[in-house]
């Protein structure tokens, strides 16, 4: 039975429903946090159970069960667990706790399915599941005007982008009459028609560009991240972005690989645009969440370079970068969450003297920012090095040069925050307390950053094995 290989997804779905239903019939509301964590741990365990997926049932044809899917699913479950850990402080104050956790679980389910989708329809449906969960999550602080505004903006733009994407998919389907990626790849050369394909390419790039938050489809990102509850912003920046990258890899390198010379020019271009604009605008931000939002746009540009390299090495770099970025960004957002929930402020200037108010928090935030900047010793360095090397191997030296300049620019605004933390004297001496779940999350992510930065060997090996078979043709 191929169904058993979907056990992790089923576990998450079941728990998401159970949490919703339990909320209706119990007066106590404090165990949803643990339930959500249990769901994710169970899912993580079941991923590693040896269920055969070599079945020809319909559902196993709709989703890949390969090692890349497994890589993303594990990453997403870990990311979701971290998000739930840092959500506790925030969610405790909300009136809709069960809904929050079940939406997080639904979003996790969505991105897990997205990363393993094997054909257009299942891909689109899982994408919608993800988007719908995030629309609700972004607008989750009901009384907060900013949150509602962010939710509405994200909803409207998101729906339009989904439609655009759907048009692209429809054109691809119209060209080939197939929805499975492998079938599209084999039929497309025979039925190729340039105008239709170009049109669908434009739609696809715009649709995916929106989900990944590439310039020029990035307008929603700063507002959405700023208005959304901080853990949600963290999850969006990590989860839905990585899942969209997974789909992009599958579609462009799998289904549309034959039409490479049409789209291969676009990717470096978008990468350069994203990182340059993201970094430049991040320089002038005063709100740390907006800064992180622009930084995430820039990071998406780096990741896209790995795909633009069009080599197994480049894809390995992409996967490694996404893994490193998951830990790094969640760490940064976790620190911001803790800080904001204690002080109620998200302004960079209020981080002044954080090292005296909470050395742990200061250290974690610094490590994450340095890792985002790509400093040695941290995960970000290995990831950037990996990607830049893969691009250089393809003789795209100009792209590497642009990326290096961008890294230098980004260093400036990350270090400005670090300066606030360590050098500028504090406004208030009041210490900042870190609750147990947040502490665990910070420790785990810092550990992850250091592990990926200092001892990347096993991870690189695993990822290399995953991407080895991607470029047979």
């Amino acid at each position: 039975m191929g169904y058993l290989s979907f056990l992790p997804e089923m576990v998450i779905l079941a728990f998401a429903c159970i949490i919703l239903i339990l909320d209706l019939f119990s007066s106590k509301k404090n165990y949803f946090f643990s339930l959500a964590l249990i769901a994710l741990v169970l899912a993580l365990v079941t991923i590693f159970l040896p269920f055969s997926s070599n079945s020809n049932s319909l559902i196993t044809q709709m989703f890949f069960r390969d090692s890349m899917a497994k890589f993303f699913r594990v990453t997403f479950i870990v990311a979701a667990s971290l998000i739930i850990l840092i959500s506790n402080d925030w969610a405790r104050k909300s009136n809709f706790r069960s809904e929050y956790y079940s939406f997080i679980l639904f979003a996790t389910l969505g991105i897990m399915l997205m990363a393993s989708a094997g054909e257009l329809v299942s891909m689109y449906i899982s994408l919608e599941l993800t988007s719908l969960s995030f629309y609700a999550l972004v607008a989750f602080s009901k009384g907060d005007l900013k949150s509602s505004e962010a939710g509405l903006k994200y909803l409207i733009l998101g729906v339009i982008s989904s439609d655009v994407l759907l048009f692209g998919l429809a054109l691809i389907y119209g060209l080939t009459g197939a929805t499975r990626f492998s079938e599209i790849a084999s039929i497309l050369p025979r039925t190729f028609s340039e105008p239709a394909f170009l049109l669908s390419l434009i739609f696809l790039v715009a649709g995916f560009g929106f989900k990944i938050a590439l310039v020029p489809f990035h307008m929603w990102v700063p507002d959405a991240y700023e208005g959304a509850p901080t853990p949600v912003a963290a999850f969006m920046s990590v989860g839905s972005k990585a899942a969209a990258f997974a789909i992009t890899i599958r579609i462009f390198l799998g289904a549309l690989a034959v039409a490479q010379n049409f789209w291969s020019i676009l990717l470096p271009l978008l990468a350069v645009l994203s990182m340059t604009l993201g970094n430049l605008v991040a320089l002038v931000q005063t709100n740390i969440k907006r800064m992180l939002a622009y930084s995430s746009i820039a990071q998406a540009g780096y990741v896209l370079m790995g795909i633009a390299a069009l080599s197994a090495f480049g894809i390995s770099g992409t996967l490694y970068y996404l893994l490193a970025y998951t830990f790094t960004n969640i760490c940064a957002f976790a620190a911001v969450t803790v800080f904001a929930s204690q002080t109620g402020s998200e302004e960079i200037k209020d981080f002044a003297g954080l090292s005296q108010r909470s050395p742990t928090l200061a250290l974690a935030l610094t490590i994450s920012l340095l890792s985002l900047a790509g400093m040695p010793l941290f995960a970000g360095f290995v990831a950037k090095f990996y990607i830049f090397a893969s691009v250089a191997l393809q003789k795209l030296y100009w792209l590497v040069a642009v990326a290096l300049i961008n890294t230098a620019i980004s260093l400036y605004y990350y270090l400005m925050v670090v300066k606030q933390i360590y050098i500028v004297p504090p406004v208030s001496k009041e210490p900042i307390l870190i609750s147990l779940p947040s502490r665990v999350a910070l420790q785990l992510t810092v550990f992850g950053i250091l592990l990926l930065g200092i001892y990347p060997g096993p991870f690189i090996k695993t990822i290399g094995a995953i991407t080895k078979n991607l470029f047979i043709t």
């Binding site: 429903c17 919703l20 239903i21 209706l24 019939f25």
Partner: protein, 121 residues
């Protein structure tokens, strides 16, 4: 012509016939009926009083949530029909599959119910 296209065409033809026949009756009525409009006759009927205010105003449409639920369940219903047709051929498997599908929607319904979405306020 394909079979189902013929069906659609027939529905269109019948709509056309219906429209024409009604229009004919309207025309006949126009011919033989009297028409003496006056201001009082044309005023909005409000049980004999002079109408107060407009009726094209903003007011709360109470069954907005019902309409949302309707959309969801209507789609569920559409999925049930093809399933029902092939049910006898697919047996227990189909029943379990549909139980899961309907079960998920029932979770939503129970949620809406308990949260008071079905309450007339």
């Amino acid at each position: 012509m394909e079979f189902y296209l013929l069906d659609v065409l027939l529905v269109l033809i019948f709509s056309g016939i219906g429209i024409i026949l009604i229009a004919l009756i309207f025309g006949l009525s126009k011919l033989i009926s009297t028409a003496k409009p006056s201001e009082v006759k044309e005023s909005t009927y409000e049980c004999g009083n002079v109408p107060i205010g407009e009726s094209w105003i903003q007011f709360r449409v109470r069954y907005y949530i019902f309409a949302l639920l309707f959309v969801i369940l209507d789609i569920e219903m559409i999925f049930l029909f093809p399933w029902a047709i092939v049910f006898q051929r697919m047996g227990l498997f189909a029943l379990i599959e549909m139980a899961i599908f309907v079960g998920l929607l029932v979770v939503g319904l129970v949620y809406a119910w308990r949260k008071g979405a079905l309450k007339w306020v």
